[in-house]
């Protein structure tokens, strides 16, 4: 069981980013949150409120998952383990909303 054997020996982990990058990401996350709340309060934005908010929060979601949870740096397998269920869950949510007439 010693060596990795899935053909392409994956790097176990690329070096995780350091504190500086982490703070940088936090700044971006803060800005997005601020924009989200602002959008909520700007009447002019209301026609596009839902898509805007969904996009922004998906962006936040991705940033946390990729940088703080290191999916960007870790093995692809971990991403699969997380993203496939995420997709199934999302499809289920959409399907149920359709089935209940939303």
């Amino acid at each position: 069981m010693a060596e990795p054997l899935e053909g392409q020996a994956r790097p176990r982990e690329r070096a995780h980013p350091g504190a500086k990058e982490y703070v940088g990401i936090a700044v971006i996350l803060t800005l997005i949150t601020a924009v989200e709340v602002a959008v909520f309060y700007i009447p002019a934005m209301h026609p596009v409120l839902v898509p805007t908010l969904l996009t922004l929060s998906a962006l936040k979601f991705c940033l946390v998952a990729m940088f703080y949870m290191h999916l960007k740096f870790d093995a692809r397998l971990f991403s699969w383990l997380f993203v496939v269920p995420m997709i199934i869950a999302t499809l289920v949510i959409i399907a149920l909303m359709r089935l209940f007439g939303h």
């Binding site: 069981m1 060596e3 054997l5 899935e6 089935l99 209940f100």
Partner: protein, 601 residues
């Protein structure tokens, strides 16, 4: 520390006694525990079915009360699915997966023990309901709002919902464990596409478990909240829609169907090649169809709900996805036929059961195909036609597959073969009896007999077919008795098997029967899909049995059992009284912390 004391060459094996079984983390022992426990519940579920068949033997019968009858079919379904077929499959996962992939144990041995214990406690808890004010009587599917406090004021539904939550924890723990084990514990050289098909089906099943059980967990949480705190999840008066339960239930329930059948498909995919002396036909195609079935299993759940009235668009959508699943299923069947085609078939009992699986599962699949078409389904759903269908799939399919597996691997597990003569008798009795029992149900269903009715009127024409079904049950009972006799006889007097009685191709046949606690003296390197049939075979066997150095085996632990007990007490407090929750919480926390900080490996 434990590491040094455990580093002996042939450890653990010598240990015996009750405590060694309670603290065992050996996957083989846990597999045996799973198997025997599940078989006991298989007998209990069978007894429930027998009483039902006796009640339905003739019209207007009064053997049991309608309420008891409702309890019987609820517990029969719940028992057979959660306490018999799933844990029987789990028993095979446990015993075989590490052996087949060339590992010393599963990735998380103590989590594995925990999974067994919490399954056992959950199963006992569920069955205690018979003695504490009545078992659940709302069907294994527990459709809301019949399960509400208003319409089911007793504790039966609480036992059911809490019991399923406890059992869900067991399944989830096993699911995570086998995913990691299969992905991460394979012997060198065993690429994904060199894994035996049973390992593949276990992997797919495990993914289905970890993704499907959270959904039923949530649905049951809603139900428990409704019953205990007066929330409105399934309360129509508050604007809620009880159909939500059905969606959540079948979102779990359909993948669950594949959780029940895929392991059996995996088993026969091992048995057929061995007794045909020919490798599995179209291995990659069978693998991919298994994965495809698992994935598509998420897109068909509403075909259980055509009668709900989802509208023509949704009906069409779910009809088409359901029919789509028939393709990979058909492909599997043809590949199995391709496997035996041109082979040299030896009709050992295991092979008979595997061939019987193909014949019976095809029947079940075809009746399933008939109600994939919503208009036809509207005549068939909730009738005995569907009862026939599920029993051809789950009894003719899953259980026959499991029996094939038992006859095939019994020598590996015990070191002795099961008697061939009794085995053949078992198979033929079982095969004939199951058809006598379940085949008439197709017709009695099409002729208008709904399921879950405790009685029917004499002038409906259901009489003689029901009588026939009931008669068949006695054949099944006889078959099971023959099997039990065979097992008890063979355990003592069976022919000694040796490491490889059937000339199998996969790694588990390289080592002695029963395998030593450490499985492989040295983990062999694998170069092909069926290593023992290749030139590498003899060399591999030598390696697998050569002890090349100190072997680290994890020490036993009683914390998994303690944690399982704590969680069960905690949750059963919902039924027996909150005071039970206090020791429950304390034991759970103590157990988990002790477990987490206990040295292992």
């Amino acid at each position: 520390m434990a590491t040094t004391t455990a580093a002996i060459h042939a450890p653990v094996q010598a240990e015996s006694g009750l405590w060694s079984w309670i603290t065992t983390v050996d996957h083989k022992r846990i597999g045996i525990l799973y198997g025997t426990t599940a078989f006991v519940f298989f007998l209990i579920g069978g007894l429930e079915a027998t009483i039902m068949r006796l009640q339905l033997m003739r019209p207007d019968n009064t053997l049991v009360s309608p309420d008891f009858y409702n309890e019987l079919f609820t517990m029969h379904g719940t028992t057979m699915i959660f306490l018999a077929v799933m844990p029987l499959s789990a028993s095979f996962f446990n015993f075989l997966i590490p052996l087949m992939i060339g590992a010393r144990d599963v990735a998380f041995p103590r989590l594995n023990a925990f999974s067994y214990w919490i399954f056992l406690f959950g199963a006992i808890f569920l069955n205690l309901s018979f003695f504490f004010g009545g078992a659940p009587d709302v069907g294994w599917f527990g459709y809301s709002n019949l399960t509400s406090k208003q319409f089911s004021p007793g504790h039966g539904v609480d036992f059911w919902a809490v019991g399923l939550q406890i059992l869900g924890i067991a399944s989830l723990a096993a699911g995570f464990n086998f995913i990691v084990t299969i992905v991460n514990m394979r012997a060198p050289g065993m690429k994904l596409m060199r894994m035996p098909l049973f390992v593949w089906m276990t992997l797919v099943t495990s993914f289905l478990i970890i993704l499907a059980f959270p959904v039923i967990t949530v649905a049951l949480v809603f139900l428990l909240f409704d019953r205990f705190t007066g929330t409105n999840f399934y309360v129509p008066a508050a604007g809620a829609d009880p159909v939500l339960w059905q969606h959540l239930f079948w979102l779990f329930g359909h993948p669950e169907v594949y959780i029940l059948i895929l392991p059996a498909m995996g088993i026969i995919s091992e048995v057929l090649p061995t007794f045909s002396r020919k490798p599995l036909f179209g291995y990659p195609v069978v693998v991919y169809s298994g994965i495809f079935i698992g994935f598509m299993g998420w897109g068909v759940w509403s075909h259980h709900m055509f009668a709900v009235g989802l509208g023509p668009l949704a009906d069409s959508f779910f009809a088409l996805t359901t029919m789509l699943i028939a393709i990979p299923t058909g492909v599997k069947i043809f590949n199995w036929l391709g496997t035996i085609w041109g082979g040299r078939i030896e009709f050992k009992t295991a092979m008979l059961f595997a061939l019987g699986f193909i014949a019976m599962f095809t029947m079940g699949g075809l009746s399933g195909f008939m109600h994939a078409s919503p208009p036809a389904d509207l005549q068939q759903t909730d009738t005995y036609f569907v009862v026939a269908h599920i029993h051809y799939v789950l009894y003719g399919g899953a259980i026959m597959g499991i029996f094939a597996g038992i006859y095939y691997w019994f020598p590996k597990i015990t070191g002795r073969k099961l008697g061939e003569g009794l085995g053949q008798l078992h198979f033929w009795l079982n095969f004939v009896a199951l058809n006598v029992t379940f085949f008439p149900m197709h017709f009695v269903g099409l002729l208008g007999m709904p399921r879950r009715i405790y009685t029917y009127a004499p002038h409906m024409g259901f009489d003689w077919m029901n009588l026939l079904s009931t008669a068949g049950v006695f054949g099944i009972i006889a078959a099971v008795l023959v099997f039990m006799w065979n097992v008890s006889r063979s355990l003592r007097h069976g022919e000694v098997a040796g490491p490889d009685p059937w000339g199998g191709a996969t790694l588990e046949w390289a080592i002695p029967s029963p395998p030593p606690a450490h499985n492989f003296g040295t983990i062999p390197t694998v170069h092909s899909l069926d290593p023992l049939w290749h030139r590498e075979g003899p060399e591999l066997v030598k390696t697998a049995n050569r002890i090349g150095g100190p072997i680290h085996m994890p020490p036993g632990s009683h914390w998994p059992m303690a944690s399982a007990l704590g969680i069960t007490l905690l949750l059963s407090g919902m039924v027996f009284g909150w005071w039970l929750g206090i020791p429950g919480v304390l034991i759970t926390l103590y157990g988990i912390y002790s477990w987490a900080f206990e040295p292992c490996t």
